[in-house]
Symmetry: C2
Subunit: 209 residues, 2 copies
């Protein structure tokens, strides 16, 4: 009897650094990164099936009707979503799947797949978040305040998650995420049936020696 | 605001090797090992306050009446128990406390302190458990079967625990336990208040620059 894989959802406010952590995790561990579907046109350099699955609006809407998204959203007239069937197939096959996603998306995934491991990535401090946003060099003073207020509100959603990891240094944060994954693999509610079944097998062997 | 320490409860059937794992963990990490109280007389080489706290039966019974045990049991006319106040004091002080205990004791601790981390140590297989029991050289064929049957029944209690760790090699099992502890320190239900409070502090700093 094979254990199901884990669906690991990395999420948090923008600027917390979840993308960097996700990349580093994929370098170090054998996870399958869930690829989103979108109706927007491919940009230069993007690879179909790796950057995104590119679907027509009709295809996307059909999939919505077929309940084939763990979550989806419409942003500026285009749809974006996490295809359910490909994720579930990997999980059933015992592979761990990682999903890097914003907070709204993560909460929808949680409704559809509550047994996922929901990890909220926090900036080390609001000070550091400000520095990171400034470092991008693309923000006016006004949009800086707007983004702070958004981050401020968004951090309240931490209570909907299983774990919170402060992204202080990448290495320490990745080690914490790896520990969370190792611990989740030992959770009794995930492996109980396997233990009790293998016990039955083994005890019969013992007494029939 | 300080985080509370974790109460880590290592438990499982005898022969699973929880004692060895506990010793190795104490070598590697800065935990405080909970010391039991007993009414039996000290044996040669035992150190009061380290091996056990030695209490008279009256003292022990008074402590029972004062609800000062996380668990206690009477075995062959002597009492054994885990003093509550000393454990709680360490936890409140932010120290992690480790408790190595049999299954009946662990379940009582869980009733009194459900926020503990309950880890069930499993032998790698019933075959290996048999070898370990035989290795002790103190079992007759009859008592071997009795101990197997006990282990067989006891393994069903795994479902009352949070985690199960198979004690295959000591090093791997200890790494799993360390991962569990690291993950539990990131659990949102343990650190939520601290995150939300520090967010308030930090956001005020930011906007008053």
């Amino acid at each position: 009897m094979k254990n199901k894989g884990l669906l690991i959802v990395l999420s948090g406010p923008s600027g917390a650094g979840k993308g960097t952590l996700c990349k580093e995790l994929l370098n170090r561990e054998n996870f399958w990164l869930s690829v989103s579907a979108t109706t927007r046109t491919p940009r230069k350099g993007e690879v179909p099936g790796k950057s995104y699955y590119y679907l027509s609006k009709d295809e996307f809407k059909n999939r919505i009707l077929n309940d084939d998204f763990l979550e989806y959203a419409e942003v500026y007239g285009n749809f974006y979503g996490t295809p359910k069937s490909s994720v579930i197939e990997r999980l059933e096959n015992g592979e761990d799947v990682i999903l890097e996603i914003d907070i709204q998306g993560a909460l929808k995934v949680k409704d559809n797949y509550p047994e996922g491991v929901f990890i909220f990535i926090l900036p080390p401090s609001m000070e550091e978040l400000k520095n990171r946003i400034i470092g991008r060099g693309s923000e006016t003073a006004e949009s800086l305040v707007t983004r702070f207020k958004a981050a401020y509100r968004e951090i309240n959603y931490v209570s909907k998650y299983n774990y919170a990891v402060i992204n202080d240094t990448i290495d320490e944060a990745v080690i914490k995420i790896e520990s969370i994954i190792a611990a989740e693999r030992c959770r009794v509610d995930r492996i109980k049936d396997k233990i009790l079944n293998s016990k039955e097998d083994l005890i019969h062997e013992q007494f029939n020696d």
